[in-house]
């Protein structure tokens, strides 16, 4: 295979790597430089454009046979993830004028790209770790809150335990099949061998933990709350997407079989119900987003009950709709002097009177996350549940729908705060005082989320076709 084909197949990664090296070089050569934001934005946007272009061109190749391969669907997945990172970067400009934020974010994105194209457990493991290790540092980076270090440590220990569990599962699969190819997982799915089944269960529970599915979810609310806003957006949209793409690569086209189906249905179901119930009790927006993301991890894993080809489309579409809406909420959240105060739900009371645009954006995102019909979240949920019914599990589909309607309450409560509740007069002055208008970059980020969201709400079929499968 010529160097040119390899470079084309790796173009998104090469662009990210070039950006990363440039960032590190700048950091060394020019102290207190201001170029980090521009360089990383350029690298990520160029990589996203390259991935979208290669996906549209339908090119596929295997630059490292058996370890790494690309096709139109993997390029589409990379384009989705990288495009979600662009508004996150715009949000970060205000909070991190320079410094280590940008190299860490770009290297984590490189990890996500590696995960999406992994063909062997070696590449998958490296990709997952390259994706998550920078995020531990990102959580602790802002250090505006006392709890940041504690949350980062919790995340690190639990995520490290998940990695060890994943590796034990891989080792058992390797012992049974003698290969580290990802296909060892999909063949083990159908086997009755005890060792293979144990390996599959260990690998799955590791990914349940990384995606924050009940009962492995405890790290998520803490980490989401303690991280600064752009990092929360990154974890909710991009890291979750990376984990789900890893599971997609693992399952490939293999159907889920009987003993495993119950595990794949019951834990996500518990996750939907518990995530939605616990979200009702929250009074901080980021904890609310965290619990809503736990519930959404449940819907996403539900998609794996469906058959192979539909699964990729359903999960990619869901991740796109869900990621855009999460970033939109956090981008529209009005800034405040104090990070803890910025988070409180009471501050959203009567926001419509003060900042109608921000209020509308948050309302649109909440309705979409709840899955109300004209919004993109509805189509995404519809695709998932349609596949579950088509695969012959109507009972699980009905239970899942009931679980998802539990979520309506707290999404609508936010909307009620925005539009109907007037701010209490005593607090009005103080609320307005700390609250600034969103910066121009944050507005640009909301537009970048809103335009694709409108596109996928108006032409879901066209978008689903582009995502391949």
């Amino acid at each position: 295979m010529s160097a040119e084909t390899v470079l084309t197949a790796l173009l998104p990664e090469v662009l990210l790597l070039a950006g990363l090296l440039l960032l590190i070089g700048l950091e060394i050569a020019v102290p207190r430089h201001r170029g980090a934001f521009a360089v990383s934005l350029l690298a990520v946007a160029a990589a996203a454009a390259a991935a979208a272009w290669l996906s549209a061109g339908g090119s596929s190749a295997a630059p490292f046979p058996g370890h790494y391969s690309v096709g139109p669907d993997t390029f589409a997945a990379k384009a989705v993830v990288l495009a979600l990172a662009v508004p996150v970067l715009l949000l970060a400009r205000g909070e991190f004028p320079g410094g280590p934020f940008y190299p860490l974010l770009v290297s984590s994105l490189l990890g996500v790209c590696l995960v999406v194209s992994a063909d062997s457990f070696l590449t998958l493991f490296l990709g997952v770790e390259l994706m998550s290790i920078p995020v531990y540092v990102l959580v602790v980076l802002a250090f505006q809150r006392e709890e940041s270090a504690e949350a980062a440590l919790k995340y690190l220990v639990l995520s490290g335990t998940a990695s060890a569990t994943f590796l034990l599962g891989v080792s058992l699969l390797y012992g049974g099949s003698g290969s580290l190819a990802l296909s060892a997982f999909s063949t083990a799915l159908g086997s009755r061998d005890v060792l293979a089944t144990a390996g599959v269960v260990l690998v799955l529970s590791a990914f349940f933990l990384k995606a924050a599915v009940v009962p492995f979810h405890t790290w998520a609310p803490d980490a989401y709350e303690a991280a600064s806003v752009p990092v929360t957006a990154y974890m909710a949209a991009v890291v979750k997407a990376g984990v789900l793409f890893a599971v997609l690569r693992l399952f490939a086209l293999a159907p889920a079989e009987r003993p495993l189906v119950d595990l794949l249905a019951l834990l996500p179901l518990a996750s939907m119900v518990w995530g939605n119930l616990a979200a009702m009790r929250q009074d901080g927006l980021r904890r609310l987003i965290a619990y809503s993301s736990i519930a959404h991890a449940g819907y996403l894993f539900y998609a794996f009950l469906g058959d192979g080809p539909g699964r990729f489309q359903a999960v990619t579409f869901y991740l796109l709709a869900y990621g855009l809406m999460n970033v939109l909420v956090l981008a529209a959240l009005p800034p405040a002097g104090d990070d803890v105060a910025r988070d409180r739900l009471e501050r959203l009371k009567g926001l419509f009177q003060r900042q109608p645009y921000a209020a509308w954006m948050i309302a649109v995102a909440m309705l979409s996350l709840a899955g109300i019909p004209p919004f993109p979240g509805f189509v995404a949920k519809f695709l998932v549940f349609k596949n579950v019914v088509a695969a012959g599990y109507p009972v699980y589909a009905v239970l899942g729908l009931v679980g998802s309607y539990l979520g309506l309450y707290f999404y609508l409560r936010v909307i009620q705060y925005l539009f109907m509740a007037p701010p209490p007069p005593a607090e009005e002055a103080s609320a307005a005082e700390g609250e600034g208008a969103p910066s121009r970059l944050a507005l640009a980020a909301t537009v970048l989320c809103l335009l694709p969201a409108i596109l996928i709400a108006l032409f879901p079929g066209w978008v689903i076709d582009r995502l391949g499968g």
């Binding site: 493991f125 709890e147 270090a149 504690e150 690190l156 990695s163 569990t165 590796l167 390797y174």
Partner: protein
């Protein structure tokens, strides 16, 4: 029991001790050590399987695990330091600002 079975039992035992330690103990350093113990259990099982099958792939993964474990600890220790400076203790029970 054959040698391989003894080694695999040892590997699973190491992993289980490490897992228990992470779940039960609340001393930051012991939790980190238990994480390493889990990874070492995995390493032992990978090496055993690689030897049984005569393929080097498992051993390659062991080297990658070394690298990643080192990176993880390199990040964990500074975070632990930040925490200890603030609270003057390594007991995680003292850190209850956050509740899952």
């Amino acid at each position: 029991m054959t040698d391989a079975q003894v080694l695999l039992t040892l590997a699973v035992a190491l992993f289980a001790i490490g897992f228990l330690g992470v779940v039960v103990r609340r001393h930051i350093l012991i939790m980190l050590m238990c994480m390493e113990l889990m990874l070492n259990g995995v390493n032992l099982s990978l090496v055993t399987f690689a030897h049984e099958q005569g393929s080097p792939l498992g051993a390659v993964l062991v080297f990658l695990i070394f690298v990643v474990a080192a990176a993880e600890i390199a990040i964990a220790i500074p975070i632990a330091l930040l925490l200890v400076r603030r609270k003057r203790t390594v007991d995680l029970y003292a850190y209850t600002d956050l509740k899952g």
